[in-house]
Amino acid sequence: METDAMQEEIIRIDGGKFLTFQLKGEEYGLEILKVREIIGLMDITTVPQTPAYVQGVINLRGQVIPVIDLRLKFGIDKENYNNKTCIIVVDVNDVLMGIAVDTVSEVVDINSENIEGTPSFGSKINTNYILGMGKVEGKVKILLAIDKVLTSEELVLMEEMQTDGANGGEDAG
């Protein structure tokens, strides 16, 4: 049953335009329809009580939107931002969010026959944030289901914050 459902999901992946970007040399792709805009790196205000991958918030023309570091979110080691770093603003279920990536590459057309289902890495690894694998000119790009990667509800870490607050003032005076 379960494999049937998965197969169905895979079949439903439509080809189309994808925005590709890099994280530690690896190519990833995002459905272009989910992308609102691409901006260069700007001042990010850190927000406390949030997991490490939440870089903070930026002012996008008057709107305050969160920025997520995709390297940290995927467990790739952090690298300092440079002038190639980009923030891709995506629309996740009507909420705008920024994702910081190493660099943005291009927009490519990938037909549905060139998209393969997510390979299985064993049952322990959650792969539902991967839409599929796109093949372009012999290379493989990981196509992300961005709304599965970022859920707008889980930006705040309640527990972490509380422990932080508890040891607030032990060595004063």
Partner: protein, 738 residues
């Protein structure tokens, strides 16, 4: 196509709801006014008009219940009007009750639910009872009305079209009053009233016609084969005499009956139409009828009988300064009268302004964009690279740009502002109802109802006001006997005023009741453990105890107030609006509440502080003071953490760098600054590195994802366009306790 129609209907409905809400607010106020001055027939007329408006809308949307009730209420009001009867308390109750039912009907309709047709049935019955006790009179009145109908219509026709009539008379034409009675099924009998009208038109002029369309059904019930016009009344001028005219229209067979009456000169003269001829003689000059004020100040003054035309003309000849001032200088009138006239003029101007309705989302978007525009503009103006090459021209342009930007911002902020009138009017009704319930007579006086507040704030301030007014009536105002005994007017007075003060709006609610009972407050506070017996509090501090959670001094819990959830909720709600509430009370003389609110919720006054590389904004309203801490004033108390002593008082200290996990630039607390803040009634200190200064900050929500954040109420766009987090002082104090 289908969705378009649906959309239109939806828009129409939304407009209707908004209008109905306005009408309800006005009615609340008017009815209370009418109750206080039953002899004021102007108020009665206004009430009638408002109910009539509702009835009209009810008809359009086919809300039968609404139509029925308003119709009955109109009957009742009409009966009062035409018989010069002052509304009795029973009638007032019916009116109030009727209004409440109407509110419910509309609310149900808005939710898409039908109101039970039985709702209001008993009210209709009540109205009928009241009316039936005087039924005879009403019938008589109706008979009179029928007799007068012809004369009235004639008068109306003559009044409206006197110019045309005057021309006709000048040309020696005859004036006829023609009534055409038409049967509903005239079309099926092959008679077309239109051809009759055409015949009439070819032999003379139809000056004015009026048709009776009372029978016109709703569109869905309309039968196109029927003519729903019962009769047409026509004022007709022609060279033909009445005999000839009768001959002309005499083909009627019962389906179409025509009555012709010639109107003689005497008749017109008798009907006080002297000015008709005055107009006719001056026709070339195209003088407007003197009954319609032109809106010019001179004309208004003439109309008020304050100056003569001659005086005005003289003044006009040398009009280089305002006409009113010249007239005063001439001794023709007094300054007060001119002012009065000016006020009238202003009102005329106001009535001609037509507001448009705009989606609030669009407005918010505009506010956002303008905020961003301001930030970009500041950044351009402070760009170092550009300033190096700036010449005079560029500087001039830049200063022009910043001025225009600021003007736009101010204007846009203003669009969201609404007068407090509506909410104040609702309060008069609340006071009246509560007064009724507890058997006290209360009058609400409103001042500054045109003061404007942000729309969101208006929506939010309703509940706190309601609580305060309820409390004032229930606890503040004494009962009638007690008031008389204390030498007060038996009717309690609550004053509700709104005004500007130093960039804030103050709403003041004061009653002339007995004031707060401080002994009782102290007792209750002791009982609830809010204070310990040792602290000495001054009067003001005692008064403020009523804002503590779980506080109520009412001897018994009444249905009106005193459930112990009153004033602390008031305080919390107002603080949520970035406002403050204050209280002042004099025993025996009354209590006054001051609610201080920012002009808008979109912008707050904030103190920008720095911790390490991060900047945070602390709302200025919650800051009490900031001090440079001395090393010897800092203590660590076991199980309570760090404390600081400020003027013999100990406050907990929260190190912001630790709480938010940022690296601080100062090594020890005494290198930094301590800010004493208040939040939800508690005080505490926040340790920061540096104060950067005060700034107006546009508040932005951080979005759904950050909803769980504590100690941070939102993000603000700082002067350089970067986001600064706005601290929620109450939340921070909470966090540091844990």
């Amino acid at each position: 196509m289908g969705t378009d129609e649906f959309d239109e209907l939806r828009i129409l409905k939304e407009t209707f709801f908004a209008e109905a809400q306005e009408v309800f607010e006005s009615l609340d106020n008017l009815l209370v006014k009418l109750e206080n001055e039953p002899s004021n027939f102007e108020t009665l007329n206004a009430v009638f008009r408002h109910f009539h408006t509702l009835k009209g809308s009810g008809g359009i949307f086919g809300i039968k219940v609404l139509e029925d009730i308003t119709h009955q209420l109109e009957d009742l009001l009409d009966y009062l009007r035409s018989n010069n009867i002052e509304p009795s308390p029973v009638i007032m109750d019916i009116l109030f009750e009727g209004l409440d039912i109407l509110k419910e009907v509309i609310a149900n309709y808005a939710k898409g639910e039908d109101t039970d047709a039985l709702t209001g049935k008993y009210l209709v019955k009540k109205i009928k009872e009241v009316l039936s006790s005087k039924e005879v009179k009403i019938e008589k009145k109706e008979a009179d009305a029928a007799g007068n109908s012809l004369k009235n219509l004639l008068m109306e026709l003559l009044n409206d079209e006197n110019e045309k009539v005057a021309i006709a008379i000048k040309e020696n034409k005859n004036l006829h009053y023609v009534v055409i009675h038409i049967d509903e099924d005239c079309f099926t009998k092959g008679v077309d009233p239109l051809s009759l009208l055409k015949t009439l038109d070819s032999h003379g002029d139809i000056v004015k016609s009026k048709s009776n369309i009372e029978n016109l059904p709703l569109l869905k019930d309309l039968d196109p084969s029927k003519l729903y016009i019962k009769n047409i009344e026509i004022l007709y001028t022609s060279n033909l005499g009445s005999g000839e005219l009768n001959e002309l229209v005499k083909f009627s067979d019962g389906t179409l009956r025509v009555e012709v009456r010639q109107i003689s000169m005497e008749e017109i003269l008798k009907n006080q139409q002297a000015e008709l001829f005055w107009d006719a003689s001056k026709e070339e000059e195209k003088t407007s009828s003197p009954k319609v004020p032109s809106g010019k100040i001179g004309d208004i003054l003439i109309e008020m009988g304050e100056v003569t035309e001659d005086q005005l003309r003289k003044a006009l000849e040398k009009q280089s300064q305002p006409i009113g001032r010249i007239l005063v200088a001439e001794g023709a009138t007094s300054e007060e009268k001119v002012e009065e006239a000016l006020l009238k003029q202003k009102k005329m101007g106001l009535s001609s302004k037509i507001p448009i309705k705009v989606d609030i989302d669009k407005l918010d978007h505009l506010v956002n964009l303008v905020g961003e525009l301001v930030v970009s503009q500041t950044m351009v103006c402070h760009n170092k690279a550009m300033m190096q090459f700036a010449d005079n021209d560029l500087l001039k342009t830049l200063s022009q740009l910043s001025k225009v930007t600021r003007d736009i911002q101010e204007l846009v902020m203003n669009i969201r502002m609404l007068p407090v009138k509506g909410i104040f009017q609702r309060m008069t009704r609340v006071a009246r109802d509560v007064g009724r319930k507890v058997g006290k007579e209360v009058e609400v006086c409103i001042y500054g109802e045109e003061t404007e507040l942000d729309k969101t704030m208006i929506d939010e301030i309703g509940d706190p006001l309601l609580h305060i007014i309820r409390n004032a009536v229930d606890h503040g105002i004494e009962n009638n006997e007690e008031r008389l005994k204390n030498g007060k007017y038996p009717r309690g007075i609550i004053e509700l005023s709104a005004y500007h003060q130093g960039g804030n709006i103050i709403i003041e609610i004061s009653d002339d009741g007995k004031g707060l009972n401080r002994d009782k407050i102290l007792d209750t506070a002791l009982e609830n453990g809010l204070i310990d017996g040792t602290t000495v509090l001054d009067d003001n501090q005692i008064d403020h105890l009523i804002f503590e959670p779980g506080f109520s001094t009412a001897d018994e819990i009444t249905g009106v107030s005193g459930r112990g959830v009153g004033m602390d909720v008031v305080k919390k709600n107002i603080e949520r609006l970035k406002g403050k509430v204050d209280i002042r009370s004099t025993p025996g003389e009354g209590t006054t509440f001051f609610i201080r609110l920012p002009l808008t919720l979109a912008v707050i006054d904030g103190m920008v502080v720095k911790v390490g590389h991060e900047r945070y904004v602390i709302p200025t309203v919650s800051i009490i003071e900031s001090i440079k801490p001395e090393k010897e004033h800092l203590f660590t108390v076991k199980e309570k953490g760090e404390m600081i002593k400020i003027r013999d008082e100990l406050f907990p200290v929260t190190r912001l760098n630790r709480l938010f996990n940022v690296e601080s630039s100062s090594k020890c607390p005494w290198d930094g600054l301590v800010i004493l803040v208040e939040g939800e009634g508690r005080r505490g200190c926040i340790l920061v590195d540096e104060l950067l200064g005060q700034q107006q900050v546009v508040i932005k929500s951080l979005g759904k994802g950050f909803r769980g954040l504590r100690g941070i109420s939102g993000g603000g766009i700082l002067g350089d366009g970067k986001v600064g987090l706005i601290l929620d002082t109450a939340g921070i104090l909470d966090l540091s306790i844990q």
